[in-house]
C-alpha cells in the first residue's frame, strides 16, 4: 500500500473510524454514500471495538512476495487466524484474531479491539499499524 493511502486510512485502521448517515445507518470502513439510503455527507463515527466472531479461517500457507515487499506481519509466523468480526454496532469487518491458538477460536466468541502491526514494506518501508481483535 502506498504511504499516502495508508496515511488516509489511519483513523479507520487505528480507531475504527467508520461513518454514520443522517438516517442512522452505520458503515465500516467509512463510505462516501450511505449504503442504505444513498445519501451523501456522512459523518465520521467511531466504533467501540467490541464484537463477536462471525466466522474464521486458519491460515497455514501465507501469501508471499518474492520481492519481500508488502509482507503481512503475521505471515512470518504461521498458523494464524483471520476472522469476520461483527461489531456490537452492526457492521462486519475482516481482521486477524490474535492471542488465541487456532484450535481455541470458536464462532460466537466475544472479541475486543487491539492495536498491532499489520504490514511492513520490507525492512526499509513504513510500518502499518491497525486493528486486530483478541478474545475477551
Amino acid at each position: 500500500m502506498a504511504v499516502p493511502k495508508f496515511w488516509r486510512q489511519i483513523p479507520a485502521l487505528y480507531n475504527l473510524e467508520g461513518s454514520v448517515c443522517g438516517c442512522g445507518a452505520l458503515a465500516f470502513p467509512p463510505r462516501e454514500v450511505c449504503p442504505k439510503c444513498h445519501a451523501v455527507g456522512l459523518k465520521p463515527h467511531r466504533f467501540r471495538g467490541k464484537g463477536t466472531v462471525e466466522t474464521f479461517t486458519i491460515i497455514r500457507t501465507p501469501t508471499t512476495d518474492p520481492e519481500g515487499e508488502n509482507i503481512e506481519v503475521p505471515a512470518r509466523s504461521i498458523p494464524y487466524v483471520m476472522g469476520i468480526i461483527r461489531l456490537e454496532e452492526g457492521p462486519r469487518l475482516t481482521a486477524q484474531i490474535v492471542d488465541a491458538r487456532p484450535e481455541d477460536v470458536r464462532i460466537g466468541d466475544r472479541v475486543e479491539l487491539v492495536f498491532r502491526k499489520l504490514l511492513e514494506k520490507g525492512p526499509k518501508g513504513v510500518i502499518q499499524y491497525g486493528y486486530k481483535f483478541r478474545p475477551v
Binding site: 489511519i10 487505528y14 480507531n15 475504527l16 467511531r46 466504533f47 467501540r48 471495538g49 467490541k50 501465507p62 508471499t64 519481500g68 506481519v73 503475521p74 505471515a75 512470518r76 509466523s77 504461521i78 486477524q96 490474535v98 492471542d99 491458538r101 475486543e112 479491539l113 487491539v114 492495536f115 498491532r116 502491526k117 499489520l118 510500518i127 499499524y129 486486530k132
Partner: protein, 375 residues
C-alpha cells in the same frame, strides 16, 4: 500537588520458561533459576512492538472516569473540565481526558523506527488531536522514568495540562546470551497532571554517570554488555546512590515506605540492593515482577509501580528507583491519595495480563522474536 492522574500497563500473553531456554543450550535450569531468580519471561507476539505496547497502556490509562469529587470541581488552578468526562468503559473510545494531554514521552530501547517517533503513533491511537508535543526517550532501562520526569516538568511549568509518559520495550537478546533468559516485553504509562493526583510525586531526582556497562551500537540487532561489570560499578552504585539521595532530600528513612520498587534486570540485583539499603522483602513484594515476566527494560521498574498503584491504599508512601545502563538512576518519592480508590476500580489491573499466559517452546519463541521466520 502534581502527580499521577491515571496509569495503564500491559504485558504480552506469551511466556517462555527458563527450563525451555536452558535445555537448548545444555545449561542446568536450576542453576540458571537460582542465579537469576527468574522462572519465565514475557514474549511479544510477532506483531507487537514498543509502539503497540505503549498504545495498549495508554488506552488503559484513559479508560477511566477521572475524579470529579467536590474538591476538584472548585479547583481553580486546573483547566480540566471534569464534567465533560464520560464514563467510558471501552479502551477504544477517545476520552475527553486525551484532549487535554499536551505532551507524550515514550521511553524505549526498542523504538520501532530509528527515525520516526513512537509518540506520534501513540498520540494518534488515543486521539489527543494535534495540540501536543512529543519526542522519544532512550536511556536503556530507565527511559520510561526519564520520560516521566520530563512530563512532570511540563506539567509543573504549566506548559501541559496533562502529560502522558512511560516506557515500553520488546527487549532483544542474542540466542545463547545470558540475557536471553530475562529480555522480555511489556510497558506502563502514566498520565501526569497538576491536580486530581491519585499518587502525588513529592520528590524526584537522578544520579547519572558515564559508565559503559551495556550498550547497542547503531544498526546492531543485539546489545552487548560488560558481564559482571554491570553489577557493582553500574547497577548497585547508581541505584543505591540515587535512592539514598532521595531519602536525604525527602527526609525519610527506609521504614517510612510501604512499597519500594527498584529496577529489576533479574531477581537477584534488586533483592541485594534492597538489603543494602535497609528495605524488607515485604516492602518489595508488590513491585517485584521480574520472576514472572522477566526484565521488560524501559517497562521494568514502572510495571512494578503500576502493580503498586493497582493495589496501594490511600496514605501509603512509595519509593521508586529505576536504573538505565550507560548509566543512571531516577528516584521518586510518592504518596498515594484518596482519589486512587475509584480509579483502581476502573483500571485494567496488571495481574489480569500476568495471569493469562500461553507457553511457547523454543522454536515458536524464535518465530515470535523473528530470529527465524517464514520467507
Amino acid at each position: 500537588m502534581a502527580g499521577i492522574i491515571s496509569w495503564g500497563s500491559y504485558v504480552p500473553r506469551y511466556r517462555i520458561k527458563v527450563e525451555e531456554i536452558a535445555s537448548v543450550w545444555g545449561m542446568d535450569p536450576e542453576k540458571v533459576k537460582a542465579g537469576l531468580r527468574i522462572q519465565e519471561k514475557a514474549v511479544p507476539d510477532i506483531d507487537e512492538d514498543a509502539a503497540t505496547i505503549a498504545v495498549e497502556c495508554a488506552r488503559n490509562a484513559l479508560a477511566v472516569d477521572v475524579p470529579s469529587d467536590p474538591a476538584s470541581a472548585d479547583s481553580s488552578s486546573s483547566s480540566f473540565p471534569s464534567s465533560s468526562v464520560s464514563s467510558s468503559s471501552s479502551s477504544s473510545l477517545p476520552s475527553p481526558l486525551a484532549e487535554h494531554i499536551h505532551a507524550i514521552y515514550i521511553g524505549s530501547e526498542s523504538h520501532p523506527y530509528a527515525v520516526k517517533p513512537t509518540g506520534t503513533i501513540v498520540g494518534e491511537a488515543i486521539g489527543v488531536g494535534n495540540d501536543y508535543t512529543t519526542a522519544d526517550f532512550e536511556f536503556a532501562c530507565k527511559a520510561g522514568t526519564a520520560a516521566m520526569q520530563a512530563a512532570l516538568a511540563m506539567v509543573r511549568s504549566g506548559m501541559a495540562t496533562f502529560a502522558l509518559a512511560g516506557g515500553a520495550d520488546t527487549a532483544q537478546a542474542a540466542p545463547g546470551d545470558p540475557l536471553e533468559y530475562t529480555a522480555a516485553a511489556g510497558g506502563a504509562v502514566f498520565i501526569i497532571g497538576k491536580d486530581h493526583a491519585v499518587a502525588e510525586i513529592n520528590h524526584t531526582l537522578s544520579f547519572t554517570s558515564d559508565t559503559p556497562d551495556f550498550w547497542r551500537r547503531a544498526h546492531e540487532r543485539y546489545p552487548s554488555h560488560g558481564g559482571p561489570f554491570t553489577g557493582e560499578p553500574a547497577y548497585f552504585r547508581h541505584v543505591i546512590a540515587s535512592t539514598k539521595k532521595l531519602m536525604h532530600v525527602a527526609g525519610t528513612t527506609p521504614s517510612d515506605y510501604d512499597h519500594v520498587v527498584l529496577h529489576q534486570p533479574n531477581g537477584k540485583f534488586p533483592a541485594r540492593a534492597a538489603a543494602r539499603l535497609g528495605f524488607t522483602r515485604e516492602q518489595m513484594a508488590l513491585g517485584m515482577l521480574v520472576p514472572l515476566i522477566g526484565n521488560t527494560y524501559s517497562g521494568a521498574a514502572i510495571l512494578g509501580l503500576a502493580n503498586v498503584l493497582d493495589n496501594a491504599r490511600p496514605g501509603q508512601r512509595v519509593l521508586l528507583t529505576s536504573y538505565g545502563s550507560g548509566a543512571g538512576s531516577d528516584s521518586f518519592d510518592i504518596t498515594i491519595t484518596d482519589r486512587i480508590v475509584p480509579v483502581q476500580k476502573q483500571i485494567r489491573p496488571l495481574q489480569s495480563y500476568i495471569g493469562r499466559k500461553t507457553y511457547l517452546d523454543y522454536p515458536a519463541y524464535l518465530q515470535k522474536v523473528r530470529a527465524i521466520q517464514h520467507t
